[in-house]
């Protein structure tokens, strides 16, 4: 890969991150310029107490001074304090990180089944398999993920009792080791499948149209002319080339699945980033929301950068030699 390509992509990602920081500051300090006052209105705080809260939440001085202080704080890895629990935002986020990685990671893996289905559908465009797969993916695309979650809970947890109604583990569970992991897996299956169902359609549609584009290429005719069997042509010549659009989609989808986790986690009481976001909305707990937004955006920006670089690596035409 050309060095210019890599540097360009990295700088682009950095500029997006800077934009998010400015946007974040603008939202929580300019649009909503005094969160302390609006939150503690009518609670009879003494001026002294208000003063201390202002200092704690970094609301002193002009907007410019506040912005400089905010950036300095960020660079120190400090995201301020939650208004609700008074704990550092970074602590709350780091506790919630692992459950979300587990959930989003598992759902992404399950949703990637869509790639396989999409390839098959695109290869045999117009077949019954294609028609079924396409209409199924349109259907799942139209369902809000939280509603799929409610229906799944109602059927598989409340009525049939196959799965627990929520949480990461059974409440007050004393299991350890392998049993604890199995219990966690039991709790994970339902929310992970729900998220996967909501996003499997996008994988399928993109993989399908990538396959259709590839199937028109001359090199497939060449491969056939060489006498390769249809299955070989698909596996070794079509599929690898249809991978590219799927790579860029994966980054976009990562953002969607992470966003979808907000509502799904709160339905399944899954103690992750999404549930924390839902908690912070109901407060509203502004420092928490600000920190979560920054964190989620940074994760998505990184995923996009990774996908861009991977794309450049897989397709040298993009990155230059």
């Amino acid at each position: 890969m050309r060095r210019r390509f890599v540097i360009g992509k990295v700088l682009g990602a950095l500029s997006t991150l800077v934009f998010v920081v400015i946007f974040n500051f603008f939202l929580f300090r300019v649009v909503n310029d005094d969160p302390i006052n609006s939150l503690f209105r009518g609670r009879n705080l003494t001026p002294d107490q208000l003063e201390r809260l202002r200092v704690k939440f970094n609301l002193e001085g002009t907007k410019w001074e506040q912005f400089v202080a905010y950036v300095q704080q960020l660079l120190r890895g400090d995201l301020g304090y939650s208004l609700k629990s008074s704990r550092p935002v970074t602590t709350v986020i780091s506790e919630a990180l692992w459950p979300t990685i587990l959930l989003v990671g598992t759902s992404t893996l399950i949703a990637m089944v869509g790639i396989v289905i999409g390839y098959r559908a695109g290869w045999r465009r117009g077949s019954t398999f294609d028609a079924t797969a396409t209409s199924m993916s349109m259907l799942t695309y139209s369902m809000p993920e939280y509603w799929i979650g409610m229906v799944a809970l109602g059927v598989f947890a409340a009525s049939l009792g196959w799965f627990p109604v929520g949480g990461l583990n059974d409440a007050g569970s004393t299991l350890t080791g392998i049993e604890r992991m199995l219990d966690q897996l039991h709790h994970l299956i339902l929310p992970a499948t729900v998220l996967a169902i909501a996003y499997v359609g996008e994988y399928m549609i993109v993989a399908r149209s990538a396959m259709i584009d590839t199937s028109r290429e001359d090199y497939l005719q060449l491969a056939r002319a060489k006498g390769l069997r249809e299955a070989e042509v698909r596996k070794h010549h079509a599929q690898p080339n249809a991978l590219l659009p799927v790579v860029s989609l994966s980054a976009i989808n990562f953002g969607f699945i992470l966003s979808g986790a907000i509502a799904v986690e709160s339905i399944f009481s899954w103690p992750g980033i999404g549930q924390q976001t839902a908690f912070a909305i109901s407060g509203p707990d502004f420092p928490m929301l600000q920190g979560l937004f920054l964190m989620i955006s940074a994760a998505v920006i990184l995923a996009n950068l990774a996908a861009d670089l991977l794309y450049g690596y897989l397709d040298p035409r993009v990155a230059g030699r």
Binding site: T16, L27, M138, L139, S142, Y146, A263, Q290, I296, S297
Partner: protein, 286 residues
């Protein structure tokens, strides 16, 4: 122009799925419009539902049962359609207006203005859409207009990109050069040549943006960011979940709003795709 419209319509009318979708959409829009005539908003005000049974399953009196306050679920879904459809359509309009303005400006004028606008568009494309909408909605006042604004301000970038690329291709065509050579000004070029050629694309992208706006509206109100004084499909689902409809097995409370969302979103998506295919022949082979 007129002939184009009628031939496009004929092609659309031969698409069975598109016609079913259109029928579903019209049915929902009619429901949203007539609801205030066939019922009163006071019928689902908890103050007036004290005598109704609570958590009643569907019966002849309450076709879709009642909720924890004895309010009819059917009526809530009907009133909810008004907010969900209105916000979906209004937010789409805002999205398309911003996206078209940015796209035409960037594509037609080019240069550093284009560079800045596209940088801005890229930022908005990369940062995740729903979390942005959530933080925006949470610092603003809770109202229907906030939701419209929030969806519009977060979802214009893909329209802007689409419009820009179309403008770039139209701008370099011969008849535009000819018009310019004959002394046409910028305003004239945009109005007479660029805009009419971008319009079909804008129409298809509008129909495809509506389902996304509706889904976003329901998600935001499900998360409690909607107007607390209005009923929307998302807010019904939010209340159903909070009051434990799922664990109680009160399927009549959480199934109807969800099915309504799926039907409307699916119908808009299918109709939009059919429209796109009719307007853009290159897609027809798909």
């Amino acid at each position: 122009m007129k002939r184009n419209v009628s031939s496009a319509w004929r092609r659309l009318a031969s698409d069975k799925l598109a016609m079913i979708s259109l029928f579903v959409l019209i049915a929902f829009i009619v429901m949203a419009i007539v609801t205030p005539w066939v019922s009163s908003r006071e019928d689902i005000n908890p103050v007036n539902t004290g005598d109704n049974p609570t958590w009643a399953s569907p019966s002849r009196e309450f076709l879709l049962g009642t909720d924890y306050l004895g309010r009819s679920v059917a009526l809530q879904v009907m009133w909810g359609s008004r907010v969900s459809l209105f916000v979906g359509l209004a937010a789409t309009l805002l999205t398309i207006v911003i996206g078209t303005l940015v796209g035409i400006t960037a594509g037609f004028f080019g240069g550093w203005g284009d560079a800045i606008l596209m940088r801005f568009t890229d930022w908005f494309l990369v940062i995740p859409f729903l979390p942005t909408a959530i933080v925006l909605a949470s610092v603003l006042e809770r109202s229907i207009w906030t939701i419209v604004f929030v969806i519009g301000i977060t979802s214009w970038p893909s329209t802007a990109r689409l419009v820009r690329s179309q403008v770039l291709s139209v701008r370099s065509r011969l008849y535009v050069d000819r018009a310019r050579a004959l002394g046409a000004g910028r305003a004239h070029l945009i109005r007479r040549h660029i805009f009419p050629n971008v319009l079909p694309l804008i129409m298809a992208s509008t129909t495809l943006a509506v389902p996304i706006s509706i889904l976003t509206e329901t998600t935001l109100s499900f998360l409690g960011l909607g107007d607390p004084t209005e009923v929307s499909w998302g807010s019904i689902l939010n209340e159903a979940r909070q009051k434990g409809a799922v664990t109680r097995g009160a399927w009549w409370y959480y199934m109807p709003p969800g099915v309504a969302i799926v039907m409307v979103v699916l119908a808009f998506t299918l109709f939009g795709r059919a429209l796109e295919t009719v307007l853009d022949p290159r897609l027809r082979e798909r």
